[in-house]
Amino acid sequence: MASVVLENVNVDFPIYGAQQRSLHKAIFKRATGGSIERNGRNQDRVTVKALTDVSLTLQDGDRLGLIGHNGSGKSTLLKLIAGIYQPLSGRVKVEGRVTPLFDAMPGLDSEDSGYENIITSGMLIGMTRRQIEAKIPEIEEFCELGEYLTLPVRTYSTGMTMRLGFALVTALDPGVLLMDEGFGTGDLRFAERAEARMSDFIGRSQIMVLASHSDNTIRSMCNKAVLMEAGRIVAFGPVNEICDRYYESVHMLPQAENEQATGVSKLDVSNRSGDGTLRILEAQIESADADGVIRSKSSLKITLSYQSVSEMRDLRFYVGIFDAKGTGLFMLDSDAFGGLPNAIPAKGSITCSTGPINLTPGRCYINIAVFKFERELDHLYKTVYFNVAVDDFHPAGKGPPRDWVMCVIGQNWKLEGLENVGLLVDEDI
């Protein structure tokens, strides 16, 4: 029976040796992270509030994902549970054996042999010499280092050291397992059986806490999640719910700036590649509907204006339409459908009209790319966001949300042998 209880925990980091000047700059440059406070006489004591009023209870079987931006306090929270940091105020109660995996081999000395390091690290983690020696055959077998274990660790390649650390750590009884993202994921790739061993290891743990800023990692390994922002827990709940929320906070930030109600958007060029021979200057997404609102069954008209140094030939324009979560929906391709002349002038605009999109209400974005054969001239990612508005495609607003499905389709329901009692909503289909 293991448990982790945090009650109103606060953690402040005092910053020593930080020049006032550079710190002053740091405060204004700081986009993420805990808030920085000054106190004491002359405002000369500087502290970073790494965790503010954090409360959390975990029981056996909980697989908790800590998700948030860099500097949101994930690692600090892990280290707090590990007992490395003591809270400034509040209480931390951890029942059960804790295995922190921040450093696979603490106390690793490159001059010592593999065997010696296994024993030193094992003891530092909290095993007795006898316990470690009992584990050595298992570690030897898994890390496959053979004779190398008798040589100093400095003769190992990075991969070999990693294997040794991995074999040692996963030989432990995990208890309450604390992981920071790099550990399980990146290092795991050395072999497939490492992955099997890792999931077995996680499976044996009573409680796992994993910090990551990848919602996919969290979704695949956890059943609960905590969303952290600037040292606070802003949400706690089932993993998918929290990850969705995080996802939105990451990917929907441009909403306020470059989106208008009509679905006509300005170009966001913050994410761009290509050699620049041709540049997309503007992109517009309009509904073919009279009021200009993009709805589930609207057709789109996309206008791209571009400029290049001279008249160009053999260009291929692409517009990718994606759901806000990154699922590809449509690919508009000037070459596949034709219609553009082979030579286009140095400056101009191109339009593409589509059929009805049949999308559920929700946010979408587009990528725009211009290629000349294999050559990438311009490539804009997530350059325009637009909204598909709720409409009367489904009678009485019964349409499914985007969270459930991407597309809508006209339907005709009837009971065989009886008159048609359903409603054919879209005669066009």
């Binding site: 951890v94 922190p100 909290g126």
Partner: protein, 280 residues
């Protein structure tokens, strides 16, 4: 790493991994002798890895030092070489022990940052490991003492010499609190290590180490001998090694320092133990 701690009334049989009291840290740290014994031993070994003579390099250095300084010193202080060399060597082995503890404790927590930022363990383990490591080096140096004494003045190796053992234990007991206190102080205030190094260097000259205590008289004797803590620290080990009885005042001083020092170090340790990870 399951350590009982915290007022966990509502969690019966609860075990927490984090030691909350300083006493718990010190006692549990001490009980992990396997760990600090190993850390200390490996430290000694690492320093001399791939050397042929190994840890005996310190002994050889000490032997050469004592031989050279002893020959010169004997004429400066007008001493008989048969008396002066044993005096110098027994002083030097003790001095090396004491000064190593003090100087190395400055870097103890600074060097240990990588450890306690990644795993949770008793901070006192580092102090025990340090004292143990310095003691192991002392044992190597003791060979020089035996060589010199057997050669020049075997008569000092009597029963009185055994009194060096309680003296040594007193030094080691003080070593742990010195390591903790200095370690914390130096971690927090990075100006302290060079300061301590300077003080140790100067005290080597003003403590009766190269010269016998009785060369000073009157006020100077009072200041540089009686009031000098390092003199008493040396005395409880050096005197027995020379076949003499240490002064009672030295024992009194050492016992007082053990109690006072531990009291102070414990106060500081229990007050600031939680901040050690933050200071790193």
């Amino acid at each position: 790493m399951t350590i009982v701690s915290l007022p966990v009334e509502d969690l019966p049989n609860a075990k927490s991994h984090s030691v909350v009291t300083a006493a718990g840290d010190l006692l549990r740290g001490l009980s992990r002798w396997e760990l600090w014994g190993r850390l200390g031993w490996l430290d000694v070994r690492r320093r001399y890895r791939r050397t042929t003579i190994g840890p005996f390099w310190t002994s050889i250095t000490l032997a050469v030092y004592v031989g050279a300084v002893g020959t010169v010193g004997a004429s400066i202080w007008h001493q008989n070489i048969h008396d002066y060399l044993p005096f110098l060597v027994s002083g030097m082995v003790t001095w090396t022990l004491v000064s190593s503890i003090i100087i190395e404790s400055c870097g103890m927590f600074i060097a240990g940052q990588a450890l306690f930022r990644n795993i949770c363990f008793e901070y006192s383990v580092l102090a025990y490991a340090l004292v143990w490591r310095v003691f192991l080096v002392f044992l190597h140096n003791l060979i020089v003492y035996f060589a010199v004494v057997l050669l020049l003045k075997p008569s000092v190796l009597g029963l009185t010499a055994l009194l060096a053992i309680p003296g040594l234990l007193l030094i080691l007991a003080n070593g742990v609190w010195v390591a903790l206190l200095c370690g914390m102080l130096c971690l927090r205030f990075r100006d302290v290590p060079p300061l301590i190094a300077a003080v140790i260097q100067i005290s080597m000259l003003i403590t009766p180490l190269f010269w016998p205590a009785d060369t000073l008289v009157g006020m100077r004797e009072f200041v540089f001998v009686e009031l000098n803590p390092l003199y008493h620290v040396l005395d409880v080990v050096r005197a027995p090694l020379l076949g003499e009885l240490p002064h009672l005042s030295s024992y009194a001083f050492m016992i007082g320092m053990t109690i006072g020092g531990w009291w102070l170090a414990y106060k500081v340790f229990s007050r600031f133990r939680k901040r050690i990870a933050y200071w790193s």
